[in-house]
Amino acid sequence: MSQNTGKGRTLIAAIGDEDTITGLLLAGIGDIDAHQRANFMVVTSKTTQEQIEETFTSFTQRKDIAIILINQHIAEYIRGILDEYSAAFPTVLEIPSKDHPYDPSKDSVLKRVQLLFGE
């Protein structure tokens, strides 16, 4: 089982639309390592749910990623595995996109808290 602590984790990864990824890359998060592994994915109209799932899963399995940023509307495509995801590291943060403002009712984090008050 991979270690699930913050130790050694420094990268901020991102799965998002082109506008979001270009912006986050401008902010300096982008990394392509010696094995050609990128810590970001641009999701377009041609990207499949499987591809998003695969990338998300591979990011969660890497030991050098601390945070995964994902546009909330893209998170919807993998809502199932996100709702199941409970590890502290990497932390998965849903963010708005240009065309889809943040919707608290969809946020996996808030859904978890609601569980405290019964299902």
Partner: protein, 154 residues
């Protein structure tokens, strides 16, 4: 369950709920900063031409300059390599300017002269990233509190 124990749980629950309120506020705040950054990015695309600010320009050798400190989970920024190093020109006054300078500032993937709106956009995304890293930190605390409470409930 002792009175003290249930009081502890109540205060833990309040902490989680406070955390959730803060989380939602910070989400709103990040949303505002991001919207401005996206707006500036769209402006930059209009100035430079849509073809010139796209994933086609992303560098194949990029390395992250914005990361997090694994101990504190706070954002850490590396300084991009400038075109002409100030320090170098001090020590070797007659050193010729290098033409093949190394840029790690992603701004320059999009050209040597970029529209001001692209710089604005970059600043906006940097500000947004600060808030997002803070949000991630906050989320972890909330989730930790939630986990403790959930197991106390069972």
């Amino acid at each position: 369950m002792t009175h003290k124990h249930s009081q502890d749980l109540d205060s833990q629950l309040l902490q989680v709920l406070d955390g959730v309120a803060e989380y939602q506020q910070l989400q709103q705040s990040a949303g505002v900063t991001l919207r401005k950054a996206w707006f500036d990015l769209a402006q930059a695309r209009r100035s430079a031409g849509y073809r010139w600010i796209s994933p086609d320009q992303y560098s194949g050798n990029m390395r992250a300059t914005a990361t997090v400190d694994p101990e504190t989970m706070q954002i850490v920024r590396g300084v991009p390599v400038p075109e002409e190093s100030e320090a170098e020109s001090e020590s070797e006054t007659s050193k010729p300017k290098s033409k093949s300078s190394k840029y790690t500032d992603p701004l320059h993937w999009f050209g040597m002269l970029v529209p001001p709106s692209l710089r604005d956009s970059q600043r906006g995304f940097q500000l947004s990233l600060d808030k997002l890293v803070e949000l991630a930190q906050l989320q972890r605390h909330v989730m930790e509190g939630q986990r403790r409470l959930a197991s106390a409930q069972n």
